[in-house]
């Protein structure tokens, strides 16, 4: 809904992006000619099936994948292909990963996981920020010196969110952060993300294959299929069934299947 305010540049701008994996004959064209713009404070959804290129696009935005062509600007920094972005970029752009069991180093305590980024970017009062960060994600001080294997999946994802949010980023990239979690834990994490958005001005790009989650959280949505963005729509188009592309329809039928019995579905 938050259409771009005229005159202000979008916080995330992607134009004619092509992303590749591998080299030579085995080169894989993961994203084809994608363009999108996300305004400041907006929450943008990127939806698609597995292999649609949505996570790859997110990694380019995070500065974690450099093999691409096109124009990419995130939080005021124009990224350069084949080159890692400057360290300060990562303070402004943070990512939360899909699998909370894989995204935390098993040998590091929660304290170390949170302090690494803070120390790296020269934050003062690291100790207070860690305490505040744990409070903010609903964990509290008793979790500070635990190892990841002593936490449940939901608690781990809270730590991962605390790690990202601690740096006070302008852009938060979320790669299916709830798809590995139980429904009740997913609700807690989605509520947490909503609370964080209320508290500070942050632009979010949320990747998911589940339209129901995206519809709950996002203002605008881009649908990806086989590396290309096939449709841009606002969440109100989704609700009012103003969907044009056949693939989006299919996605909608599958994820918002809701309570319709399978036999009655087309």
């Amino acid at each position: 809904m938050t259409a771009q305010t005229p005159g202000t540049a979008p916080t995330v701008a992607v134009a004619d992006l092509d992303v590749f994996y591998g080299e030579g004959r085995k080169r894989f064209h993961a994203v084809r000619g994608a363009s999108l713009a996300v305004a400041g404070r907006e929450t943008f959804g990127l939806v698609g099936g597995s292999g649609s290129g949505k996570s790859t696009l997110l990694r380019v935005l995070a500065g974690l994948w450099n093999s691409w062509q096109g124009t990419v600007t995130v939080a005021g920094t124009a990224l350069t292909p084949e080159r890692a972005p400057p360290r300060a970029f990562h303070r402004r752009v943070q990512m939360v990963f899909q699998d909370p069991y894989a995204s935390l180093n098993p040998r590091h305590t929660v304290d170390r996981i949170l302090s690494d980024g803070l120390e790296l970017h020269g934050f003062a009062d690291v100790d207070r920020r860690i305490r505040d960060g744990l409070d903010q994600v609903g964990l509290g001080p008793r979790f500070r010196f635990r190892y990841p294997h002593e936490l449940s999946g939901g608690q781990r994802q809270r730590v991962a969110i605390a790690r990202a949010v601690a740096l006070e980023p302008e852009v938060l990239l979320l790669d299916e952060p709830t798809s590995a979690l139980d429904a009740s834990v997913q609700a807690e994490i989605l509520n947490l993300l909503a609370a964080i958005r209320r508290e500070r001005p942050v632009t979010c790009v949320f990747v998911s294959h589940d339209l129901a989650v995206v519809a709950h959280l996002c203002d605008r949505i881009a649908v990806m299929q086989r590396g290309a963005i096939v449709e841009h729509l606002g969440v109100e188009d989704l609700v009012a069934d103003r969907v044009r592309h056949a693939y989006t329809r299919e996605l909608l039928a599958a994820s918002a299947g809701g309570l319709a019995p399978l036999a009655d579905a087309p």
Partner: protein, 301 residues
């Protein structure tokens, strides 16, 4: 926002510092290790080796170098608990003092080869591409030489002696560590927590040392412990061939070599150091297997 209950008994107080958290983890691992009898046996053997080496001057009944030609080749008995060799030296005392070069060689070889090999493997695995190709081909070439033969050739060039034996064994011992560290790094490089660290803006050097290396250490420790048995055998092999520690220094391999001439009339001269080598290398193997059960995350839930 209520967090779900942790899979932990709530009765224990929470650790309040990183150090405390680490100590608690170590305690859990130690308790698990102590429950396994063969690990315990291996640990005791290794502990005895260390004690023998350190306390040799106190425990020895004779001067290990003192010759007593009147008592040469005397069998085990009250005067000489494990008998004497061809020069009448007390075998029990020589065995104790022989633990010193053995331990020294093990410690020096591991201290030289493991860090070098691990560094090569980490760099090759993390950066990939040409770096990896060059480093791993060199590793393969060194690995292709039979270990004892390469060590022999090196000692022959460098002149026989304890220090040169250490250098020779270390040169042949690092490639397995490089391979191990590379394999672990390749698996970890693409993991989400390494990506998350890159996403924090962490430089490569810190990712390698802070994120990847700690996860390689347990398998390196296991490998090193199992390797120690092999190092003892190589060192004894060099000693046996007269290329290791030089006489009159007591060294188990050289002691066996000396006993070879009397194997039929005075079996104990060769058997005593031989058994010591057998027991100590068995001890290291048991300990290494036990460490694998405790440390290797792939071997337990």
């Amino acid at each position: 926002m209520s967090a779900t209950a942790a899979p932990l008994s709530a009765a224990r107080p929470e650790p309040s510092s990183r150090r405390e958290a680490r100590l608690r983890q170590a305690g859990i691992a130690l308790r698990r290790a102590a429950r396994n009898p063969s690990t315990l046996a291996g640990a005791i053997v290794v502990l005895l080796l260390v004690l023998a080496a350190v306390l040799a001057p106190l425990l020895a009944t004779h001067d290990p170098m003192a010759q007593d030609l009147s008592a040469r080749l005397s069998p085990p008995g009250a005067a000489h608990w494990l008998g004497t060799d061809q020069l009448g030296r007390d075998l029990y005392s020589r065995l104790l003092y022989g633990a010193q070069p053995t331990l020294l060689i093990i410690a020096l070889v591991i201290a030289l080869s493991a860090p070098f090999g691990v560094a090569v493997g980490l760099i090759a695995g993390y950066f990939g591409g040409w770096t990896e190709t060059v480093l791993m081909r060199v590793t393969d070439i060194v690995m292709a030489f039979p270990r004892l033969i390469l060590a022999l050739a090196l000692v022959a060039v460098l002149k026989p002696g304890l220090v040169n034996a250490v250098i020779a064994i270390a040169v042949t011992a690092w490639p397995p560590y490089a391979r191990l560290a590379r394999a672990e790094t390749l698996a970890l490089r693409r993991s989400e927590f390494v990506e998350a660290a890159r996403g924090l803006g962490m430089p490569s050097r810190r990712i390698i040392t802070g994120q990847i290396l700690p996860l390689c250490l347990s398998s390196v420790a296991i490998r090193a412990t199992l390797d120690m048995a092999g190092i003892i055998l190589t060192a004894a092999g060099l000693g046996f061939l007269g290329l290791g520690a030089q006489p009159p220094l007591a060294e188990w391999g050289a002691m066996i070599a000396a006993g070879r001439d009397h194997i039929f009339d005075a079996w104990w001269v060769a058997a005593v150091p031989g058994l010591a080598i057998l027991i100590v290398s068995l001890g290291f193997n048991l300990l290494g297997d036990g460490l694998r059960d405790v440390l290797d995350p792939k071997h337990h839930d």
